[in-house]
Structure formats: C-alpha cells, structure tokens
C-alpha cells in the first residue's frame, strides 16, 4: 500500500505568499481572541477550590446552585463533568480570606449534604493564590526555556536561519492552540500547558525532517534553485510527515475517546497542535527559510569543517 504517489515535486514555494497570508490571518485571529477573551485558566493558576462530586442519579444542578448561593458562595460555578451524574463545583479564591479558603471544601460539602441525593466527593483540589502565581510564572519560564533550548540546538546543528524559521513556525502553532482555548473558553490547566510544550518539541521535529532534507539536497545536487530544493525536500518527506502525524494522532484520538474528562483538554491541545504542526512546520517554516536567504554556501562550508572531524553528521553521504 502506498498513499502518496507524487510524480513531480509539488511547487509549494510558488504559493508561499498564500500560505503566509493564511498563517498570519489565523495567527492574528488567535492573538485577537487571546487579547479580548483571554484564557480560561484553571484554578491551578488562579487559586481556588474545585470539587468533583458523584451522584447515583442525575444531579439537580439548579438546586445545588441555589443552596450554595444561600450558603454564601456567590461566584461559584456548578457544571456537569463527564456525565450528568458527575458535578464539578468551582469556588474562586476570595482575597483577604486566605485562611478560610482552606475550609471551603468542607463547607461546600456540608451544603451538598443539605441538598441531598447522597453526594460522593471524588476529588477536591485547593490551590492557594501564592501557589497559583508561581505555577503561572514557572509555566512561562518553561516555555521560554524550551524556545531558547530549541533555537540553540538547531542553530548549532543546522544553521541559525533554520533555527529562527523553525521556532517562529512552531510558536505560531502555540499561539493558535492558545487562540482556540481562548475562543472556546476551554479550561487551560497544567496538563494542557504540558501538552503545549510537548507539541512545541514534537512539531519542531517536522521542520527538522524537512531541513535535514534541504541540507542533504543542497549538498547532493547542483543546479537547483533554493525554492526547487525546498519543494523537493517537502515533497520527498510529505508521506512520512502525514503518516507519522496520523499515527500520533491515533494515540491522541484514543485519549480523546477513552481518556475521560481528566485527559480531554490535554488531548484537544495535542490534536490542534498536531494538525497545525503539519501545516506550519512545513508550509510556514520553509518559506521563512527561503526569505531569510538560505543558500548552498551555508552548507558547503560546514562540510569542510566536518572533514576535519568536528561533528559527526550521519545525514551526509
């Protein structure tokens, strides 16, 4: 079986401008939603209390809401979680009453008992405001570290033009994932952040594979223009790109279906990341590379260095 039967190199670069316009549009849309709607951060980042309660029958959310309101929990969200018998209750943190917030879960528990229906508390999570702030900072630092690490590695392994275009392409993915989360107001939690960072590392792979081919083709052939070489590199790797992403996506779909609510948004973030990863690392990174003026000379020189045994490059023959 062979899905991809491509006779000639597909002239991707001829349409580079179109791809970049599409990218820019989605990118700015994502930024726009991020700016206007903002992320719906989980209590891990904002601080507060989340409780998951299971009932043996369908839970009456209105009754629970009313009871909680009567007991003084005004800003509480009560929603179904996974099934109609599972309820999630979120109580935001109230400023100035930190010592009391530790006891919130017990008070809410008491209110739920008052509503009746034999609530079973499955999960309680309380995060103090100081912890939330730290988690948000740590998340940003982790993102920064990943970006710097990848740029340095690619610059060292390939060429700075490769590094810059790969990281721009993949940051654009990240912004788009965040844009989706902002637009649909999906909950942005720690596992989602982990997924976003994993996607960053993963979809850079894509650019690496194409770049590897670009380098190889530059070295092997003469008389091809840079766009032609990039077209050739993309065409000859496209089958692998799609099959790989398809396989990873199979795993992620399995998580979406079987993973339950705890893994749902994690899997959603991965799905968006994988789909846009194919597009951006191939069709965003490569035109960037072209416009940054990558050329044959950039690879002929390092080859000389290699002859002196500086680096071991398995890709060159």
């Amino acid at each position: 079986m062979e899905f991809f039967r491509i006779k000639k190199d597909i002239p991707f670069m001829r349409h580079a401008l179109v791809f970049n316009i599409i990218s820019l549009t989605t990118f700015f849309l994502a930024v726009f939603f991020l700016a206007t709607k903002g992320l719906h951060l989980s209590i891990e980042f904002t601080g507060g209390t989340v409780m998951e309660v299971g009932y043996s029958q369908t839970a009456d959310l209105d009754k629970i809401r009313k009871q909680l309101e009567a007991d003084g929990f005004a800003d509480t969200q009560v929603i179904n979680f996974g099934s109609s018998r599972d309820v999630q209750i979120r109580v935001p943190i109230k400023s100035g009453k930190e010592s009391e917030s530790v006891r919130i879960s017990e008070k809410v528990g008491a209110s739920l008992q008052a509503v009746g229906g034999e609530p079973q508390i499955k999960r309680v999570e309380f995060v103090g405001p100081q912890v939330g702030k730290e988690l948000a900072e740590d998340g940003a630092l982790a993102l920064l570290l990943v970006i710097i690490g990848i740029v340095i590695y690619l610059a060292f392994r390939f060429e700075w033009r490769f590094a810059i275009s790969a990281i721009i392409a993949n940051l654009h993915d990240i912004i788009i994932i965040l844009g989706f989360f902002a637009f649909f107001q999906w909950e942005f939690s720690l596992p989602v952040l982990a997924a976003v960072l994993a996607v960053l590392g993963y979809s850079v792979n894509e650019s690496v594979v194409v770049f590897d081919r670009v380098r190889e083709t530059f070295k092997k052939t003469r008389g091809m223009t840079t766009p032609e070489i990039i077209d050739h590199a993309i065409t000859s790797t496209i089958s692998r790109t799609i099959i790989t992403h398809g396989s990873t996506q199979m795993m992620v779909v399995s998580m979406l279906v079987f993973g339950g609510p705890a893994l749902y948004y994690f899997a959603v973030a991965l799905t968006i990341g994988i789909l846009f990863g194919i597009y951006s690392s191939v069709l965003v990174a490569s035109p960037l590379l072209m416009w940054m003026g990558v050329s044959r000379e950039h690879f002929v020189k390092p080859k000389k260095e290699k002859a002196e045994g500086v680096t071991e490059d398995g890709a060159c023959v």
């Binding site: 103090g128 690496v208 692998r240 795993m251 279906v257």
Partner: protein, 622 residues
C-alpha cells in the same frame, strides 16, 4: 551484510529480559496487607514483635499469606479484604492494649502480589501517584516570620534572666517587630549589658540608641542566625508532622521539604480530609506563664476582664475547671524547651499526671522562675491558632530544678494522655498554612488508571494495525519494536520507582505515538532507496543510517521540552515530564537498535535477497 555483531544482539536480549523482569510485578497486581510501624522513638520493631504478631493471628485463626520484616515496618500479607480488616483488629488489640497510649500504628495497606523471587530482585510495581491510588496531598507553608518572632520572644526571656544573674539593672525588654529593645537608666549599665550580651548571645546584632533620657540597646538576629532558625523551624515542623501522622495510622505517608519554607504531605488512602487537616493544622504550642494572683483575686477586676477588658500586661483565660484567671503576657517558657512529655501518675498522691522534660536552658529558666515565685500560681497554656487555653494552673510549691516537671491536679487518665500527646507531638516551631490541597477518592483513582490504560492500549492497537497493513513485515517489526519500547519504559519506571500520575500515563501513550515516527522515517527511507533502484540489503543499511541523524534531531527537540517541564513542572506535570524524557531514551533505543536487530535477524543473512516485505513500492516512471 546486515548482520549484528554479537555484543549488539546480546545487548538487545539482555535489555529485553531486564525490561520484562521489571515490568512483571505490574502484572501481578496488589493484595491487601496490614502494616505495623512504631510511633515512638523508644519503641523499636524486633523479631519478638513479629512472633507476637504471629501468635496473635494464630490465636484468632487468621492465616496470613506472608509476613515481611523490614527495618521500619512489619507487613502482613492477607488473602482478601475481609481477613485484612479482621487481622488489623487482632493485631491492634494485641499490640496496643491501651488505645490511649499506642506504641504501634497498625494501618491497612496494599502489597505487591508478585512472587518472592521477583521482590528479592528489587522488582516492584510502579509507584502510583495520589491521583491514581487515591488519598490526600497537602502543601504547607511554614510561617517563617512567626518562627523568628517566637525565637525573639523566648530570647527576651533569656535576656532577662541573664541580666539579672549578672546584676545589671535594666528598664525593660520589649519586642518591637523584628527587634528587641532593651532600656537602661545609664550608659554604664548599658555598656556592661552589651559586653555580657556579646559574650552570651552570639546570635544577636547589637546597636546602641538613645530615647529621651533612656539609654537603649537594640538587638536583632544576625542573618546567619535567622537562616539557622528558619531551617530548624522547618525541620522541627517536619518531625512534628511525622509524629502527628504516625498517630493517624497511614501506611506510606510522604513528608518532604519543598523549597526553603514548604512541606509536602501525602497521605495515600486517607479519605477523611477534615481529620487530616485538623491534625496537620493543629498549630498548638505550649507556653508557660505566671498567673497574676493579686489581680485574679480581685472581684471587680475579674468581672471587667471577663467582659474583655483585662488589666494591661495580662490576658484573661478560663481554666478547665471553669474559673477565670489573669495570666501575665510575659512568656516564661515555650514548647521549644520541651524535650518530652509522658502521661503517668504522681508518686505521692497517685493522681494522674503529665511528666515534662525540659532541655538545659529550659531547666535553668524554670528553676529560676519557680524559686522566685514559690506559692504563686503558674499557668501552662496550649496556644492554638492564636487562641490560648489554660491546661492547668498549679501552685508552685518549691523550687523545681533538674528540668523534670510534673503537671497534676484535676485530670483524668485520659486527659493526662491527651495533654501529653498534644505536648509531645503538638509543638510546632512555627505556624503553618495549607496552601494547596488535593484529595482524590479511591474510585476516581482506579477509574483514572483504567482510562489511562485503555487509551494507551487502544491507541497502540490502532497504530499496530495500521503499521502492519501499510508496511507489512517491516510494519510488524516496527510494532514489535514499539512493544519493546513499552516494555522498557514500564520496566524503567518500575525500577526507578518514579511516581506515575495520570499525566504520566498520558505521556506513555504520547511517547508511543511519537516513537513510531522513528520507524516511519526508517521505513520511508528504505522504500525510497528501493525506489531509486538500490538492492534490498543496501536499502536496509542506507535507510537505517540516513534516518538516524533525523531521528536524533527530532528526539532531542522533544527532550528539550521534557527537560524544561522537569525543571519547572510540579506535581502531576513533573510525572508527565519524567515519563516523556525516559520515553524518548527508550524509544530511540527500541526504534533504531531493536528494530534493526529484528530486521537483520530476518533478512541479514540472506545473500541473494530479491525483495523485502515493506509494502508496495510505487515508482513514478512505472
């Protein structure tokens, strides 16, 4: 031409055997058990205790399926949960005849059901995080400012004694925020005091000052001393928490320092968070203060004090018996000076009593205070969350030296036990706040495991089917390599006893999904070489070799993300990062080395290889 050297084959086989060996315990599951550990530092577990347990179980006709003696605990393995509960009761009764003064904690636990030879190889099942096994997680923050204030308070008491011993007159010692201010009538006594303090209190920085006609000496704690006090406070709090949690009877509690001022407490299997919180958050500290007897005898002052207006320098408390009394604000002694508290009986009256032992500094202070205040009353207070309670306010009969103090009077045996326990375990060096709490019910934990495992298995199955159909035999080899990857990963996680969380299981699934990338790269390369008209054997060699650098680059970028998460992630996300990083290592090995070994085994020795089973090779020209 595609043959492995012997060492490579041997490496692969050894790796597979080890992977299988350390993965095995996960397949046996767990059986109920009872865990016995000591709650007192003086009570050690020994073989005599083990035989006592065996006898008790035999007497109750409970047959354990195994008994394991470890330095810190004895575990009894049982057939089912019914016998587990019965065994717990039996052992509890046998070892702790007096429930109020328990020497051992007897807790329900789970033990690996794997055979003994596996356990003796240190092959244990993966260590499940709280989100998978259920339990409570707390993050506590120690109030370091509180620790420093407390130290300053007790230092001010030390200073008073010191100055009096040296016959230096002073006009009062007061704590003002982070400093102590000492007043003197003249410069001469201030200079003397300064000399004495420099000699005896090396922790203090002294600055001279003048306030009107008063000469002042401002004492602050040196930064080094502050740091030491904070470190001590944290350690002391961890010890205290250990003691308190031992009383709870939790099988495998985790109490760890996190950062400079935080403590993580994990109590697997505990569902009653309210009780756990009560026990952890009980910031009871002991204070010994003098009773203002004159004012307490005055009816009108007492009436005013009961309405909330006690005279300056005193606090109003209601004693256990019900009568009110005024206690001086000045603290004579704090719980820091207490080394032990045991319930017992008064040697003369046979009344229930609590015997306290003080450290040397505490003993000296206590001696001085009791000498100067014979026939006056002294109050022993338990301060909990800023509110004090007078446990007892006995009359001082004689000077008490030697640091052995007995509290007696109006106490039952149970009360004496409670007070002793609270004093023993209850003294925190500094107050703590719960800043993070996570409770996961046991059913949710089991549910999370099932969901994580299901998504991994179904995803794996989908990939396996696709790969085998698309790449035929090479696809099957890739799937075998992927299974080996799973084996290595689970084996490695079990060997390292890294905490597996739900995001960790997701990371296993994700690494498998990403690991197949390497095999796709290789297979596509092999096909491409064949398409270019290379012989099958050469195509295999070239495919693996050319794909290698790409595989390495691709995995290193993911590794960078994993390491960043490892550094900055906390809790469950760290579990994700650990699995991601380990998974990348195992997947490079299995996708490249293991799959190559299998391919070489199948095709490597054939000289005239006409074709290989890697699916249809379509050529543009054809």
């Amino acid at each position: 031409m595609n043959r492995n050297p012997l060492w490579k084959n041997a490496t692969v086989i050894i790796a597979l055997v080890l992977g299988l060996l350390y993965t095995l315990p996960n397949l046996f599951g767990e059986v109920p058990a009872v865990q016995i550990s000591s709650v007192k530092a003086t009570v050690k577990l020994d073989l005599r205790l083990q035989s006592r347990i065996e006898e008790a179980l035999a007497a109750a006709a409970v047959k354990p399926t195994g008994l394991f003696f470890e330095p810190n605990s004895i575990r009894v393995r049982l057939a089912d949960t019914d016998t587990q509960l019965k065994a717990k009761d039996v052992i509890e009764r046998a070892l702790n005849p007096d429930p109020a003064d328990a020497s051992y904690s007897v807790a329900l636990n789970l033990l690996s059901a794997s055979p003994d030879w596996l356990t003796s190889l240190q092959a244990r099942p993966m260590y499940l995080g709280l989100d998978l096994r259920g339990g409570v997680h707390f993050l506590l923050e120690v109030d370091m400012k509180g620790a420093l204030t407390k130290r300053l308070d007790s230092t001010s008491a030390d200073l008073r004694t010191l100055l009096r011993d040296k016959n230096i007159r002073h006009g009062g010692i007061v704590r003002e925020g982070n400093m102590l201010s000492l007043r003197f009538r003249d410069a001469d006594s201030r200079d003397k005091a300064r000399l004495v303090l420099t000699d005896n209190q090396p922790d203090l920085d002294l600055v001279e000052g003048q306030d009107g006609t008063d000469f002042k000496l401002i004492a602050t704690l040196k930064p080094v001393a502050q740091k030491r006090i904070q470190e001590f406070a944290l350690k002391q709090n961890i010890t205290t928490l250990n003691n308190r949690i031992n009383e709870l009877g939790v099988a495998e509690p985790v109490i760890q320092q996190q950062g400079a001022d935080r403590i993580v407490v994990q109590l697997p299997g505990v569902q009653d968070t309210a009780k756990a919180k009560d026990i952890l958050g009980r910031t009871a500290t002991l204070e010994v203060r003098l009773v203002d007897d004159e004012a307490s005898a005055n009816q009108s002052i007492m009436e005013q004090a009961a309405r909330g207006q006690p005279p300056a320098g005193t606090d109003y408390y209601v004693e256990r018996g019900g009568s009110g009394l005024l206690v001086k604000k000045q603290v004579v002694l704090t719980g820091e000076r207490l080394t032990d508290a045991q319930a017992g009986f008064d040697s003369q009256t046979q009344e229930p009593a609590v015997h306290l032992s003080l450290d040397s500094a505490g003993a000296r202070i206590f001696k001085d205070v009791t000498r100067d205040n014979v026939n006056k009353r002294m109050a022993i207070l338990l301060v909990e969350k800023g509110k004090g309670e007078v446990v007892t306010a006995p009359v001082i009969r004689t000077e008490i030296g030697g640091g052995r103090v007995q509290i007696s009077g109006r106490m039952t045996t149970t009360e004496a036990n409670d007070v002793a326990l609270l004093l023993r375990a209850g003294s925190l060096a500094a107050p703590m706040d719960i800043i993070e709490e996570r409770t996961i019910g046991p059913s949710l934990g089991a549910d999370n495991i099932a969901k994580g495992v299901n998504s991994t298995l179904w995803g794996f199955a989908a990939i396996a089917v696709f790969m085998s159909v698309y790449y035929l035999l090479f696809g099957f080899v890739s799937v075998t390599a992927l299974s080996a990857n799973l084996l290595f990963l689970v084996g490695l996680l079990s060997l390292l006893q890294a905490t597996l969380t739900l995001p960790g299981i997701a990371a296993i699934a994700l690494t498998l999904g990403m690991a197949i990338d390497a095999n796709v790269l290789i297979n596509e390369r092999v096909r491409e070489e064949l398409r270019n008209g290379v012989t099958p054997q050469a195509a295999i060699t070239a495919g693996y070799e050319r794909a290698w650098s790409t595989i390495l680059d691709a995995n290193i970028t993911t590794m960078i993300a994993g390491i960043a998460l490892l550094i900055f992630g906390s809790g469950p996300v760290r579990g994700f990062a650990v699995v991601l990083c380990l998974g990348i290592l195992t997947s490079i090995f299995s996708a490249v080395v293991v799959s190559r070994t299998i391919v070489n085994f199948i095709y490597g020795s054939r000289r005239k290889l006409e074709s290989i089973s890697i699916g249809q090779i379509w050529k543009p020209g054809a």
